[in-house]
Symmetry: C2
Subunit: 220 residues, 2 copies
């Protein structure tokens, strides 16, 4: 064969993995942890974050809000007093490791224990790109339906924890928590599922406890 086959996607993912290592090194150096928070548009990523900023205390939380456009979420988070930066992906459908590291450097990690990256609202592309996080957390909301792990398997197969938000709306939607747990058990039986309601606060303590434990209790 006298020509090269250049697998652009494989190559891009390999470059991204290398960049993810740099991001991990940066966070290790600063003694802070990074959580990649993913989910559909409107799943309630920001609302759950607002609860966690409170629920994870005394851990000091910073937030990077990734968005295609707008600064709606950064403004909301900023009102809590937490350190926050708005990242614009200029049309891109996911955050990659290099964008994440540049965001971290720009925001500054000093004095923080945990940084949450709120990824673009999307169940497909963010699952493909490592950002160099210590934990990958997905949020699914009750109104979206319990069949989503069947339809977007990569996302649900690669997370460390699944949050089911808008639990207070369970009575009015055809969403079966046991059916969801069944789908997850087939994909990744070891992944914990935390039903919460960002609106009422239900379930947030259990989620915060698990996160605190996984992010290293010694910092608390």
């Amino acid at each position: 064969m006298d020509y090269e086959i250049f697998e652009t996607k494989t190559r891009a993912l390999a470059d991204n993995d290398a960049a993810a290592e740099q991001t991990r090194a940066l966070m290790r150096e600063k003694g802070a942890k990074l959580v990649n928070l993913m989910g559909s548009p409107g799943a309630g990523k920001t609302s759950v974050l607002l609860r966690l900023i409170e629920g994870l205390k005394p851990l000091r939380v910073g937030v990077m809000e990734a968005d295609v456009d707008s600064d709606v979420d950064a403004r909301t988070v900023s009102s809590t007093g937490a350190r926050v930066i708005q990242l614009h992906t200029a049309g891109l459908c996911h955050m990659d490791a290099d964008m994440t590291r540049r965001g971290l450097e720009r925001m500054g990690v000093e004095g923080l224990d945990v940084v949450f990256l709120e990824n673009i609202g999307n169940l497909v592309c963010p699952a493909e790109f490592e950002v160099g996080a210590d934990l990958r957390v997905a949020i699914l909301s009750v109104p979206e339906g319990d069949d989503k792990p069947l339809k977007y398997p990569l996302m649900f197969r690669t997370v460390d924890c699944l949050v089911v938000n808008k639990l207070d709306t369970l009575p009015i939607f055809d969403f079966d928590l046991d059916r969801l747990r069944g789908h997850m058990a087939r994909l990744r039986p070891e992944v914990p599922v935390f039903p919460v309601s960002a609106r009422t606060g239900e379930g947030v303590a259990a989620l915060a406890g698990w996160l605190r434990n996984r992010l290293g209790g010694e910092q608390a």
Copy 2:
């Protein structure tokens, strides 16, 4: 400059536009229309489609269900007796024009007046790729929130019609229909907004009437 700059994305989009022309030619030849139906995971694309298959009668409707994986939606649609095909994108986050044309050829368009392509649940990537449709329709659901046009502007700026689904849940979510209409009026004032409930059927007749009109009433 003694080297070439190859704008891969620009090039891919140009190739896609050419493929979209082929898809349009195919549909013109068959005398049928193509609707590109987009929205977040769980917005209710399939449920609205089930209502439209009924509501658009006597138009004969076919459905192409695009999914990363699974055939959940095709099975649901199939139960109505409508012609349906499940397309798997094998991880890809959107449908492009070439995949669409191949899906149409495989399903067969003969005897149909309208084909709906239910795109991958995603508010970002599908907006970038023309599939050769006569109409682009987005579905936003009440639980997702009224701020989505601010966060995913390309999608909302490029549709011909916006459907707001799960209208029956308006009392329990912080969703302001007027605020949404305001966002849309700033992006694209000429785009009609149809509030519907796929669950109760509310608003579906108005949406079906508009679609029938735009798809060419002479076929009805």
